[in-house]
Symmetry: C2
Amino acid sequence: MRVLIVHAHPEPQSFNAALTKAAATALRDAGHEVTVSDLYADHFDPVAGRHDFLQVADSSRFHYQSEQAHAATSHSFAPDLQREQARLLSADLLVLQFPLWWGAPPAILKGWLERVLAYGIAYVDGRRFTSGLFKGRRAMMSVTTGGTPERFRPEDVYGNIDQVLWPVRRLALEYMGYDVEEPFVSYAAPRVADAERKAYLDAWCARVVEAAGKPVTSVSIDSEALIASTGPAAWARS
Amino acid sequence: MRVLIVHAHPEPQSFNAALTKAAATALRDAGHEVTVSDLYADHFDPVAGRHDFLQVADSSRFHYQSEQAHAATSHSFAPDLQREQARLLSADLLVLQFPLWWGAPPAILKGWLERVLAYGIAYVDGRRFTSGLFKGRRAMMSVTTGGTPERFRPEDVYGNIDQVLWPVRRLALEYMGYDVEEPFVSYAAPRVADAERKAYLDAWCARVVEAAGKPVTSVSIDSEALIASTGPAAWARS
């Protein structure tokens, strides 16, 4: 199984870094092939823009999806996106490792979703959810929170963790067709005792190795054929 | 009433830009004072990091909130953050204008939340929701979607728009204490006819002017006193 861990934390000594390192080691020990995209270490630029593309489809007006569709058929994504897209397309299991900041992934990871998961690469018009391009593959989030588990009870202030992670799970990962595992959550990571953090690490390794052991069917994605067959996207018809 | 519109779209000819421009004009015509933070035009950097700070609290390990707390008491935020924080602190009404990308604000806006809404400026330990520092002030989102309204029915694939916007509303704006208006949503903005887009613009102007007409109580925020009175934050005690 090929696993891509997208890691989004600025501090190499952080608990997020420990979770990624432990998962990579456990997965490799179990015989899997692991790639880590360490967004902070790689100085990944999360701002979607003209610099995403080596060519220009329309210089008079910047429409992001149209430029993405053009780049997908003309193979003209910027080098950083080509690298990340190749990693994404070859991964059977995608793991997102991040701290919950303001109830969501850090901007550097949100920008990875926007720039890497481009139209024509990660989705096309009419192919989503059960017909999504990544159907048969698996995805999983590993999240650390400052808040205690009590804060995330359905009746408490933040709402259940599933409600908090809904946009990433439903409108990104499941939209693309992924089978999404239940998230692994290290609650109150900066507040708990070392023994509890150690227990989180062990539990996370067990969970991710288990997920990597489940069967997948990764169908290869032919961007040119997909865009040719779906015709102009809905947003391009208006 | 002082209004800050944080605008997050790369294309000046976009419908998002039209919404921001129309709102600013309507608000000024109604006698309000309007500032627009145009994140793309300003080349706002959304990546949280050491460059947020002119001083270093701990050079051996980067803990973001600790550095923010230090900067809040030593007045050592980087100039771009000082500017945005001054705008934020002086605004009675905060408006976030953005397209829904992968179910959430664009990375450039997510990073604005992370960097500008710093510990000691926008929140401190023990002051959140009904005791939040921005209690008495008002906030509002104006969002464009590619998806049709049907997609956002509770029983459909994306879930209700309130569910999608929950992290921003609940874990950011309400966390800070804001009274949050119902979001204004321009559904399927790229797909509808021009007359419908015109109707969106008119409805949005009416909504935002109405919101700006409601009473607010903006209490000034004294970062040094707040941090001194709350003591070490929970994450610093572990």
